[in-house]
């Protein structure tokens, strides 16, 4: 793809958070959580502020790529569905979400939370109430799967040598 011209880098006051590992992490956690799981974590918190849809939830595709041989040149493997959404809050903060699948509600919740989490005043409470519990649940699922895999690991033992 040709590089865009005329769109200079950044300048939106968000650059401090661009590529911020913390932001990448919460976006990844929200992408792996269902709308119901996110909503359950928001239950009991003060209601989310009203937001404006900058880009309404929309489902499209991402082309997934592999590497030939596992580590060589990229090739196009096939596409996957993805839903994206972008919102702004009354204070001007902008949130984005790209989540695998077709769940529009998940994408919108994730975008709103992305906008809120960029506010240093709101961040600690939201991390504690929403992101960390979701991340823990995801880690627990992965750990259980790893434990099941470990139980199917073959323990070889050598038979007495036959002559």
């Amino acid at each position: 793809m040709s590089e865009a011209t005329g769109t200079g880098p950044g300048g939106d006051g968000q650059q401090g958070l661009a590529g911020d590992p913390a932001r990448r992490r919460w976006m990844g956690v929200l992408a792996r959580a269902s709308a119901a799981e996110i909503a359950a974590r928001l239950d009991g918190l003060p209601p989310l502020p009203a937001h404006r849809r900058l880009r309404a939830p929309e489902t499209g595709l991402v082309m997934l790529r592999g590497r030939q041989g596992g580590d060589g040149q990229p090739f196009n493997l096939g596409e996957m569905t993805v839903t994206r959404c972008s919102v702004t809050l009354p204070d001007g903060a902008t949130g984005h979400a790209y989540v695998a699948g077709r769940d529009r509600r998940q994408a919108e919740l994730a975008a709103v939370l992305d906008a809120l989490l960029q506010d240093p005043a709101r961040r600690p409470a939201l991390l504690a109430a929403v992101i960390e519990p979701l991340a823990e649940a995801q880690a627990a699922r992965a750990a259980r799967q790893a434990a099941r895999a470990a139980a199917t690991r073959v323990q070889f033992f050598t038979m007495a040598t036959m002559r």
Partner: protein, 363 residues
């Protein structure tokens, strides 16, 4: 061929569709199959439809299977048709299968490789005896056993061979300038096809066709000496860089099956004898497909490795033009559409030839 527009049959078609809907539902006294049941309990059919439909979405694939009454090629067709209605936002970063969260990982070349042989949920050691307990209303099976997971890395067998210089390295562009791979969903196939294009075509190719071709290379139609270096199945994170963010984010995970087939290579004028790779990668848990793909990928490399290419699996035009079951079913099944005019001309020709032949025989 000539076609003539024919009108009519609307009522017959409507009646056929109504009957199809009823046949799809089956006996009403039997509970209806939910799409979530297909997704959860016919998961390998879902995987196959995602792979051949070239679209990763378990729910859509399950719906397609239900709509197609279990006809998996029809289901892949439905999924392909649906994907054409969606915009493509961006391409993902190449999936890092080396960082896969492993559910299954086996090697046929080294017994004691680091990370070990992990069987995962496999049919391999089942007795292939019908289990009539499944025909009864079953209780939920007990949860499978767990064992402490070691944080041991699972290096690839190909990497182990590469350390000794015995594995041909894969060509790889320099990082930022890495070329955009060709995409057969945007540009029609052209020959000779580069390996990335071949792999895309094989990844969406029909499992049965690739299985037969892979098998043929083992039976002598091709010069194959394959070993399963490694098969791994599990979850891999999907990462994209949305232009409005400018940094990479994870958007979820996909289940993939990867097969690295290790093949002997006698060497050429420019390269010493070493091992080469055949590569298979598919959506979902699809081991047979990944293995067949790896065999065919290696066979299709014959020409570039300077080997004699005479077998069907080594002919890229033959393989790539015929491995897509949606294209194949379209062309085969179009034969049942009206060919009334073509056939009229055939009839006339045969009558003439026959009359001539009979006249000559009589003279």
């Amino acid at each position: 061929m000539a076609y003539v527009a024919v009108k009519g049959g609307e009522r017959a078609i409507e009646a056929a569709h109504a009957w199809l809907a009823e046949a799809r539902r089956g006996e009403p006294a039997v509970p209806e199959l939910g799409v979530d049941q297909v997704e959860e309990q016919l998961g390998l059919a879902v995987d196959r439809v995602m792979a051949e439909g070239a679209c990763y979405d378990r729910g859509l694939a399950a719906l397609a299977i239900k709509q197609a009454r279990g006809d998996l090629i029809e289901a892949a067709f439905l999924l392909r048709a649906y994907r054409t209605t969606l915009p493509r936002f961006v391409a993902g970063a190449p999936l890092d299968t080396g960082a896969m969260r492993i559910r299954r990982r086996i090697s046929a070349t080294y017994k004691d490789l680091p990370g070990g042989q992990v069987l995962g949920p496999t049919f391999d050691y089942t007795h292939r005896l019908l289990d009539f307990a499944l025909a009864a209303e079953g209780e939920a099976p007990p949860p499978p056993p767990e064992a402490p997971a070691e944080a041991e890395r699972m290096p690839r067998v190909t990497g182990i061979l590469a350390q000794e210089g015995l594995m041909q390295p894969e060509a790889r562009g320099e990082a930022p300038a890495e070329a955009e791979p060709p995409d057969l969903t945007r540009e029609p196939l052209a020959f000779p096809a580069a390996r990335p294009l071949r792999l895309q075509s094989l990844a969406r190719g029909d499992e049965g066709f690739l299985l037969a071709l892979g098998y043929s290379t083992q039976r002598g139609y091709g010069n194959a000496h394959p070993f399963v270096g490694e098969i791994r199945m599990g979850e891999v994170a999907v990462e994209i860089t949305p232009p409005e963010l400018g940094f990479p984010i994870e958007i979820g995970e996909v289940t993939l099956t990867e097969c690295q087939m290790v093949n002997q290579f006698a060497g050429s004028k420019t390269e010493p004898p070493q091992f080469t790779r055949g590569y298979g990668l598919t959506f979902g848990h699809a081991e047979r497909k990944a293995m067949a793909m790896a065999l065919v990928d290696r066979a299709l490399r014959a020409r570039e490795l300077g080997e004699e290419a005479t077998a069907p699996a080594e002919s890229e035009e033959f393989v790539l033009y015929h491995c897509d079951n949606v294209e194949a079913t379209g062309f085969v099944e179009h034969l049942k559409l009206p060919h009334y005019v073509d056939f009229q001309s055939e009839l006339e020709k045969i009558r003439q030839l026959r009359a001539t032949a009979l006249r000559e025989a009589a003279e």
